[in-house]
Symmetry: C2
Subunit: 427 residues, 2 copies
Amino acid sequence: MNIEGVPFSRLNGWRFDPDTGNLCHESGKFFSIVGIDVYKNQGGIARWRQPIINQPEVGYLGIICKEFDGILYFLLQAKIEPGNVNCVQLSPTLQATRSNYTCVHGGKRPAYLDYFKDARQEQILLDQLQSEQGARFFRKRNRNIIIRVDDDIDVGEDFRWLTLGQIKQLMLRDNTVNMDTRTVLSGLRFQSEQGLISEESPSDVGNALFASERCMEGEMSIDGILHGVSELKSRYELIVDKIPLKDVPDWSVSECEIARDDRKFFRVLGVNVTIANREVSSWCQPIVQPMQEGLCVLFAQKRNGILHFLMQAKVECGNFDVVEFAPTIQCLTGDFRKVSNPPPFVRQFVDGSIKGRVLFDTKQSEEGGRFYHEQNRNVIILLDEALNIDVPENYLWLTLGQIKEFLRFNNYLNIQVRSLVAELQYA
Amino acid sequence: MNIEGVPFSRLNGWRFDPDTGNLCHESGKFFSIVGIDVYKNQGGIARWRQPIINQPEVGYLGIICKEFDGILYFLLQAKIEPGNVNCVQLSPTLQATRSNYTCVHGGKRPAYLDYFKDARQEQILLDQLQSEQGARFFRKRNRNIIIRVDDDIDVGEDFRWLTLGQIKQLMLRDNTVNMDTRTVLSGLRFQSEQGLISEESPSDVGNALFASERCMEGEMSIDGILHGVSELKSRYELIVDKIPLKDVPDWSVSECEIARDDRKFFRVLGVNVTIANREVSSWCQPIVQPMQEGLCVLFAQKRNGILHFLMQAKVECGNFDVVEFAPTIQCLTGDFRKVSNPPPFVRQFVDGSIKGRVLFDTKQSEEGGRFYHEQNRNVIILLDEALNIDVPENYLWLTLGQIKEFLRFNNYLNIQVRSLVAELQYA
């Protein structure tokens, strides 16, 4: 793979719309960089304008699985994406925007697409519409789908069959399993009719996870959580209007970037990409680079003998429905070390005063097709049972069973927390 | 009540924004009439511009209930609304937009508001965010909430305690129970821990409804329906952008109305309202008048011994999430008698070739606070068991239990079908 920064004037196929200043593909498809005008009232009234990725298409994130000798294997692809810090990561069997799979680019049809298009009801393990990054995408969603296939399948050169245990072990390494694979796997239920069998004996934590997944009534009932969500979605206002990029103040478009004058948050670059194993082998595109590394932390704790997870109901400007559950700590858009008034639990996490056992601590990448070298620290901490922490009103303790139920019904959990759920280790 | 049409120039408190041409309240609150630019691909690609009501607020539609002698009673208000065909209809205990209950109008605080704001978890029977009319409102939702109160309550002059049986009987009369009451009651589960007791012995249909509500696995499983919904939400595209009202072609703003030159669909009028029992007793507002009476029909049928209902997955331009389940037949925006190519089942319904037993057939009003003299025919037909009808791919048979499960998780059923669900008669 070769990635080369290019000025926007040489970004083939892309242009700034003369009326709006939006950065668009000449086909009108793929995605564009537009402006939004945001009003929100969570944590005090705030209003601002910013650029955002607009991609009003539902793409496929699909994984094919198949049983060999009584064990389910998942077909993943070693895929190169222009923004990857390490060139190759393990991606779903099929990862294609609508513009890709309808071949707007005039290239090859994505491999394995027809398995998903032709799947029969009984082959579907899950099929969910889930959100993407709410601070970067305007109401973007993808179709997270897993299908089970019994027939023999040709395994392409870059593809491999992996067990869930292997994939979870690979997540223990930095930037190895890509974001799309993580979000798709997060929705799997381990103890349902889906009949997933782990080939390894579960650890104590694994057994506690199984028990938590069976538990649909935790500290709160499902109806109680729904009541809490309705209350927060009514109280918090989020009004977002698309506006021309040229009407966004504090951001400047120069020859090579769209960026804030104070260098905060992120910037948009143009890159020329040359990759061997893709539908088209060379193209130009805009890509978003964050200005800092982020932090996502999920607190777990046994409460009344059952493992619960502390979810934060968070308003993000690109959210489809005002509020989604986010990790206990989610600091992505600003530098949490530098702000004078950090969000709840950040200070205690950074100074080590939150006592517990670290179950997971790695760097994980955001989608390399849109984000340049974006990696965020993902941490799961099992708090000591004796620890009694006060939580703000928009924080709720959910069991794993409740989390999986809300995943079924779409758009309740944001992509950062879905990623952490996928990273839970059973072995 | 006195309702008087007034030209926009005398619509006190309202003005056309000089930049956009939008019709707005001077406070910037309540609602406004704006333009939208719509692209959708269901039933062929279509693109159009139209005016729509923009009200980016979640209001309360709340009912208080209380047990007397082992029977639950619901507190309804005989409420006057400017658009009501018959002045007074039975409305929820609390029916208030955010602008109302935060007293933007400088009037009285809505009665009973604090019961809902202070309700404890164990008092909540249901709490759902549900959509309003998708062809008229831009992504409008209200909070549908029922709370149970044990304390004595002052019953205001216009308020009465009614049993569910009484309310359902009143629905058998035209335009008696308003839309807001119908949508709130549609979500009630009759056989859950909510412990609703009917004071009347159920009919055969009533017993079949109870059985259908207990049935969570019908012709399709919940996961199968979710798969179907994901498939349709991915296939159907709906892109709606707010635009200035002045940029909407084919619609003209005259002294007294916003209307299409061909008089189709609806028009927007200005009215001066004087009412005794409201927070403020006199005000001006815009109101929407449809150009024809509509038709909503829900097909029911026993399939494998269990009552199912035929839902249509429908794209409407103001939908929050592309597709919602609508009644089997929903003809509201155009005159179904006059179109050359009517939607599925309309011709068979009109010519009487659909054989079955009519369970319900009345005229029901849309919300009188926004719609002027809008009433639509609501019909429920129990198809003969022997009848085998072919259904298009976006039509699904759901049990009542499945319907109530999708109601819990918000925004799966549109307001027209919720109204029909509320109208199901058990006695």
